[in-house]
Amino acid sequence: MKILLVSLALATLALTLSACGQPQPTNKAVFLLVDTSGTYTEELNKAQGILNYLLATLDSGDSIAVARIDSGSFSEKDVIAKATFDERPSMANDQKRVFKHDMDQFVATIKTGSAHTDITGAILQAAEYLQETGAGEKYVLVFSDLAEDLQKGHIRDFPLELNGIQVIALNVTKLRSDNIDPRDYLNRLALWQKRVMDGGGHWKVVNDFDRLDRLIAINAMDEI
């Protein structure tokens, strides 16, 4: 009887301890990659709109970073701004203002596009940052036409490590060659989907900006 009681007490304690374990993180981390190659710079205003949407959506404890995609994107130099929002809402609002200011400055200063487009390097850079944040939900938003044009000597044909990361392609514009043969466009999307899925990530394409609410399923602004 005594042993039974002790066992019951231990089982209850174990259940209590397991219930009080470390909860899963619920914060989010978003890395926005902005293509600055060639004529895609004309689309930067749209990228600003997406960033504003993200800033309005993300809340205290969430992380955000913006980097450009240029000839060699696997570099910290390409990161335009990054921040993890403070736990205090007022401080988080100030950080958002600063972040918006940095992005506005970047858009204002950029005039010409880069010669090459290193999308793989940028995604690797984003994945590295997102894994470091330890966030519960991790997103890479790729604002690009997904046409990779690597500089000579750059090696990017290896599998990506994107476990637990959702890769969302935004505003995937059609190239002139796509109009001649639309299969190029479809093949490009399929290739990236395969690379992301093989790397353990999730793939999504959003070209309609009226459906931005499908990007991240949170409505922090509606809490007030």
Binding site: A19, C20, P23, T26, N27, N52, Y53, L55, A56, D59, S60, G61, E87, R88, P89, S90, A92, N93, K96, R97, K100, M221, E223, I224
Partner: protein, 520 residues
Amino acid sequence: MLNELLLLWSEQPAISLAVWLSVLVTVLYLAREPAHLLIKSTGRAIYRFMRSAARAVAHIEQRAIHRNKEIILAQGREATEKFIEREFTRINEIVARDLSHYPNLHRELTDAIERLENDYQAATDAPPLPPEWLSVVQTISELPRQGDPVVSSILENIQDEVVTAHEETLKAYQKSSAERHRLLGALQPQWRALANKLNKTKDVVAITQERADAVDKHMANYEAIRDHEDHIARSLTASSLTQFFIAGLVLFVAVMGGLINFQLIAMPMAEMVGGNTYTGGFKTSDIAALVIIMVEIAMGLFLLESLRITRLFPVIAQMDDKMRKRMMVISFSILFILAGIEASLAYMRDLLALDREALKQSLAGVSALNAEFRWIPSIGQMVMGFILPFALAFVAIPLESFIHSSRTVLGVLTVAVLRTVIISLRLVGGFAHQVSKMLVFGYDMLVTVPLSMEKWVRQGVQARRDRDIETTRQYPIEPYLPLEDADEIQEETVTVSEKPKRPRKRKTPDLDTDLALDKS
């Protein structure tokens, strides 16, 4: 496997099935008697078990009813004692406030009556009459003068004196009348004052009488409670149920108020404890807001307990007055500070909302607008943040009623559940008993064919036996036999034919003792 078994007797399923049926029916026929016994005994066992269980539950139900009655009567006794105590306190206050001055009042009344009497006596004093000799003088003055001037002069003088004396008397009478009128006029306010004092005394006596009637009523209730009368228990139960629902409704309103309070302070709490930290799956800021509200409610409980409005904590009620007052001051101070914190948090919430709105407009590329009268909701939120804690503090009163009445409600519910269980057990028992009887008949239906055959055989055998007996009676056969054998056969014949018929025993009906007991 099943198919193999089915086709065990023949390749034709129908034939094999018929054989199986025959075997089954035969087995059932052979096992009929023990099967009947098994079914009947099982049914009766379930029936008896259910009846026993119902009786046990009925015993528990009786105990629950008794306990409920004890609880409700104890609560009623306590409440009536409080009522009576309060009524006596009121009577004491009335006596101390109004009737304690009765000696003074009595003295005042006596003095007033004495003054009235004196004044009355003074008012009834007769005016001084003209002296007695005046009539003699008047008679002399009216004597005939007979032309003598001296006599005439003397008589005129006497007449003048008489007239003067009459005038003086008249003046004195008039003065006296005026004085009496004045005294009588002065009596009026004294009468009024006296009447007012008597009216006040009458009111006090009427209030005291009213209180005394109330005490009588409560005393009658108290006596009924003391005598454990059923009608008072029913009345108290109904009153308790009403209290339960009213208190529940007020508590629901309080919970709604608490939710509004929570919404008011949860968001700004993130500024103090962080907006992204979690404790046990819940936001720490939400928990902090809840804790503040709970502490406010707890302080409200202590405050009302110290004021002796509620009696949830006997420890506080038993404290001496000095300690109780200290506790009152401390709990009120904490409540006041928390209300102030809430008001500031509500203001902070407004500021944060403004900041968030401005950021949103900035991100949307819209210039921020300066809204007019923005201070009104700010002030409103602050006032609400300050008032709600005090409003929540009063939740102690309905909470106490709810807790006290919930004992009665739980008791009533328990009795209802127990009654349902008793009825269910009896129904199940009766149903099992009836089902066992039905199963017996159903069993016999399965073996109808062999039973019918058995019946026919029995009837045939019986008919042949009857015929043989009849034939033996009408035509007794006397075979040629040795004498000894003939005697034996004769004896046997006589034994068979003249065997006295036993009176057929009436089968004793299988009575259900429990049912019989219940009916009795």
